[in-house]
Amino acid sequence: MDNLLSILTFIPLLAAVILATFLRGDDEPAQQNAKWLGVTATGSTFFVALILYAVFDGQNSGMQLIEEREFPFGLTYRLGVDGLSLPFVMALTALMPLVIGISWSVTDRVRDFIISILVFETLALGALLSLDIVFFVLFFETAALPLLLMCARRGGKTASHAALKAVYYMLPGAILVAVSLSAMAREVGTADMSALMLHNFAVSSVEIFGLPVSGGIQTLLVLGFAMSLVTKLTLWPLHGWARGAVNAAPMAGSIILLAALPLVAAYGVTRLPLAMLPEGTAVIAPYAMALAVIGAIYGALVGLGQKDAKQLLISTLGGQAGLVLIGLVGATQQGIDGALLLTASRALTVAGLFFVLAMLEARMGNTAFDTFGGLRCNLTSMGFFTLFFVLATLGIPGTGGFVGQILIFVGTFAVAPLAVLGGILALVCIAVALFAFHKQLMLGELVKESLKVLSDLDGRERFVCILLTAAVILLGLLPSLLTGPSAASVASLVALYAG
């Protein structure tokens, strides 16, 4: 158990190195090998995560299974897990094998594609488990790069442009995070994040250009983190990168950028501003909630105006991450628990919706609404799963989204009733956009000849859909699987925030 976290983090990277070193060619057997190795590696990672889940002590609110090694160049390699990071680790590792399963029909540059997914997983896990700010920043800020690189390599000029634009969106945020963390480390005298969490940073009001900043240095540091977090959560007004990059990525890449990356960002919100800078977060929270509500409503509106199914999902689901932000910055036990659940459930439903789109894209070559219509008449299974994932995204009873939303709204009401009203209103807008998506694809008479010959989901596709459905329902029926181990850590975080 000594190196459990390192094993967990680096299994995907090891598989990526094996793929990069030993796999040659891009023929059918090579592609199959790459996919199987990808599934095996991500599946093994999930298995190790299950072991971690089993040995984790839910009563302990501190860091556990800490690994600490002196690293070359004066760095300290330090990993650890607590109740705040464990749910994200579980959600991420459970999602990744499904993502590769979803991409089984990919035939273009399969090796690069699998490598980028595996490297992403290592970077994301590194960000979730790192306790040293140097490694944290390295992992956290470069997590999206492998996928953006893959976009650039696969999709021609437009995709390269989109990927580069995404990098420009993320770069200032990354620099600000690095600067903020460096400043914090300098003040405390260590790069250990556990120590930073225990330190009380100054809250006395400071003046910037003659304007008083309430919350002092804490508020400034939170603002330093904000840009990176908002960008990765794909929230307005820093969501513009997603439209191009997510669209250019293959479906699995879209899922990772729109579901897994926000998952890492949501962890960033809990670990950086919430756990380290509670007073600063309290000052920023009302603005963050307003931003989250505006982002969610704006995302749904933009989605509603789209003529392409994929673009609709990118805008609408990107904005939905705003609900997670409301729960997190509200900083109540229920709000944070709800946000954890909603993040995990959202990752699965986003995967489901993009999977359905991938199936349609594989069959028709595009995802424009005017290509489709009336699919429900012939494609019963696809119609059912599309509707299920739409409804699960909206949080019907029995899904993780339902519990997540009710916890966020009921819990946050005590501190920000207006944000709750705004959040529910945003949910109404999201419902309109997603029903428009479902209607334009599935409902109505099947008139187009080209659609009449489409085949319904095959056995493998149905299996993946059933797995996703089962996972979403499992979260809805047994939410404590995810929130139980985190209860003590969340309680101590809330106490810190309240105190």
Partner: protein, 630 residues
């Protein structure tokens, strides 16, 4: 027994929805209906055995959500009120499901041999399950789960004809309206949790008596009394499912649902609104302003439903509107604190609404799914059974009786007793309001008798072929409906004692007069002087259009909310997106593209790729060495 009652409709829904292919169509239909009948029987057994007392019996099944002090079990609350509601909901559900056996779909709606009846019954069972969950829930999240599940089932019922795009739009409206209702219900639950620090309804109800002492809420700098906020939030939620005027559009569009299931939307689904207002009645009692809103909104809805209903040509829409008027009356009664009377009225009007929707369903089916009464007429001869059933249903719906019946006790058919009681009580509270309601009841009566006369008497109109093939439904079906009609007629007499008490009741005789007046005017207009309605409508064309178009509210909502939303969506997606910061970064990316392409080309060249791989390997080796060497 309670758990079985709750789960039976869910099992039925799953079997009919997913198992029809395996067990066959007919077996799936019987499973759904049989399990609903079973649930109804259990509900009545529990109710009559005294299991439901005023003091609740809480049945904890398992732990569900645990987050700090917010602990929500899967727990059921069994008391008199929840069991009465359960009996009502399951009975209506079972009746509608039973009569869905005879349902045929409009031509072209389904493929040949496509199984659709089990799916319809699955949706109906799901709606009943949702409502059962709502009324039996002991915790707030479970209640909310029932609320959303019922909305989901309503969505499925309205969108049943998935090949028709209009059904898809209508279904979407149903779901979205309910999500708008979430705004109220979740806010109320948030306020309750803030007040009582519990998710358990039993504990919460105990503390609600003092809710008027709660600190006011600060919203947008305004101090809002806590109880008024919570009560208004509940009212808003209830108003969406009770389709109060302004939030009624989903009900108008809901006529896309198959006719028998429409009865469920107007009774079972709406019962959810009544339930939450009664269950948390203590909050309403502590909020006098909200009580006034309830009364005014309810009266406005009653008037709206009645005035709009009596000018409709589509039989489904007509019934839908007169049901809306009754829902308004229920809301108004709740505002006046007449909760038992409201419940009784829901039961009484619900029974006759089920009958009426079946009559309309059979009419439509006989006329090849043409529900326009202007194309009916003269159907009394080929559809004699349906005609008599329509008369009984209309009589039960409009109510007929006397306030000075046998031994000084009031007596009456159909909804008379509940209406008479509500009007008499209101007279003491709000002078003048009963006269407004009486006018609404007169119009409701006129509308229903108009439908009866236009469809069944006079000359045959419209498509001759349809008239030639129009027949009654199978005898076994309408014979059973007649039993139900008799029950609807006498149920008021059966319920008045247990619900309103055996003492001398103050009753207004006026609803009976309204019914007779409506009948008389309809008889004159549509039998004696059939030219009069046209002439009258011609002389008041503007007024008729105003009423037919539902006071232009639907148009107003379309132009005031839907239109601007769509325009805002187009504006945001075409004008805002891609501008500002995005355009700047896009330009920057475009300028850097040549450099990137060169770098990518270098990276893609074999030597460079090897270097990257080698670096990865070295990094991994260093890492492994550090980890193990410690």
């Amino acid at each position: 027994m309670v758990t079985t009652m709750l789960l039976a409709p869910l099992v039925g829904a799953l079997l009919a929805g997913f198992g029809a292919r395996a067990i066959g169509d007919l077996a799936a239909q019987w499973c759904a209906t049989g399990l609903l009948l079973c649930a109804a029987a259990l509900a009545w057994i529990l109710l009559s055995s005294g299991a439901g007392s005023i003091d609740p019996n809480v049945l904890v099944l398992s732990r569900w959500i645990e987050s700090g002090t917010f602990v929500a079990d899967v727990a059921l609350r069994v008391d008199l009120f929840s069991l009465a509601m359960a009996a009502l909901v399951t009975s209506f559900g079972a009746i509608v499901s039973l009569y869905s056996f005879g349902r045929t779909a409009p031509k072209g709606m389904f493929k040949k041999n496509e199984s659709y009846r089990p799916r319809l019954m699955a949706h109906e069972s799901l709606l009943v399950f949702g409502l059962l969950l709502l009324v039996l829930a002991e915790t707030l999240p479970l209640m909310f789960a029932g609320w959303v599940a019922s909305g989901l089932a309503a969505y499925a019922l309205v969108g049943f004809h998935y090949r028709r795009l209009s059904s898809g739009w209508a279904a979407m409206r149903v779901f979205v309206y309910q999500r708008v209702g979430d705004l109220g219900l979740l806010s109320a639950f948030g306020a309750f949790y803030l007040w009582a620090d519990t998710a358990e309804i039993s504990v919460l109800l105990g503390s609600l008596e003092n809710i008027s002492d709660a600190e006011p809420l600060l919203l947008l700098g305004m101090s809002v009394p806590f109880a008024e906020f919570a009560a208004f939030a509940l009212l808003f939620a209830a108003s969406t499912v009770l389709a109060q005027v302004g939030l009624h559009v989903w009900l108008v569009k809901g006529t896309e649902a198959p006719a028998p299931s429409l009865a469920l939307l107007h009774t079972v689904y709406a019962a959810g609104g009544l339930y939450i207002l009664v269950r948390f009645g203590a909050v309403i009692d502590a909020a006098p302003k909200v009580q006034t809103i309830l009364i005014v909104w309810g009266a406005a809805t009653a008037l709206f439903g009645a005035t709009v209903g009596f000018v409709q040509s589509d039989a489904r829409r007509l019934i839908s509107m007169v049901c809306l008027a009754e829902m308004g009356l229920i809301m108004l009664a709740l505002g006046a604190g007449l909760r038992i009377a409201a419940l009784m009225h829901l039961a009484l009007y619900g029974l006759s609404a089920v009958l009426l929707f079946h009559v309309v369903g059979w009419l439509g089916q006989a006329m090849r799914h043409d529900y326009d009464m202007r194309h009916h007429g003269g159907l009394k001869t080929p559809m004699r059974g349906t005609f008599w059933l329509a008369i009984l249903a209309a009589l039960a719906f409009t109510g007929l009786g006397t306030s000075f019946g046998y031994a000084g006790q009031p007596a009456g058919f159909g909804v008379f007793l509940s209406e008479a009681y509500i009007l008499a009580e209101l007279e003491a509270l709000w002078r003048g309001l009963p006269w407004l309601l009486l006018f609404a009841l007169f119009l409701v009566s006129l509308a229903l008798w108009r439908m009866v006369f236009m469809s069944f008497t006079g000359m045959a109109r419209g498509d001759r072929d349809s008239h030639e093939v129009a027949v009654d439904p199978p005898r076994w079906l309408w014979m059973q409906m007649f039993s139900l009609a008799l029950l609807a007629l006498v149920s008021g007499l059966l319920l008045v004692g247990p619900l309103l008490g055996t003492g001398k009741l103050a009753m207004s005789p006026l609803p009976g007069l309204a019914c007779i007046s409506g009948l008389f005017v309809a008889w004159v207009f549509y039998n004696l002087r059939p030219a009069w309605p046209g002439a009258l409508a011609g002389s008041m064309a503007g007024g008729q259009e105003f009423l037919r178009e539902g006071w232009f509210l639907e148009k107003g909502i379309t132009q005031g909310i839907t239109g601007p939303t769509v325009r805002a969506a187009q504006w945001a997606s075409t004008r805002v997106e891609g501008n500002g910061l995005d355009r700047l970064l896009s330009a920057l990316a475009a300028r850097s593209m040549p450099g990137l392409e060169r770098a990518t080309a270098r990276l893609q060249s074999r030597p460079a790729w090897r270097v990257v791989t080698a670096l990865l390997v070295v990094a991994l080796v260093i890492l492994i060495w550090v980890l193990w060497a410690g």
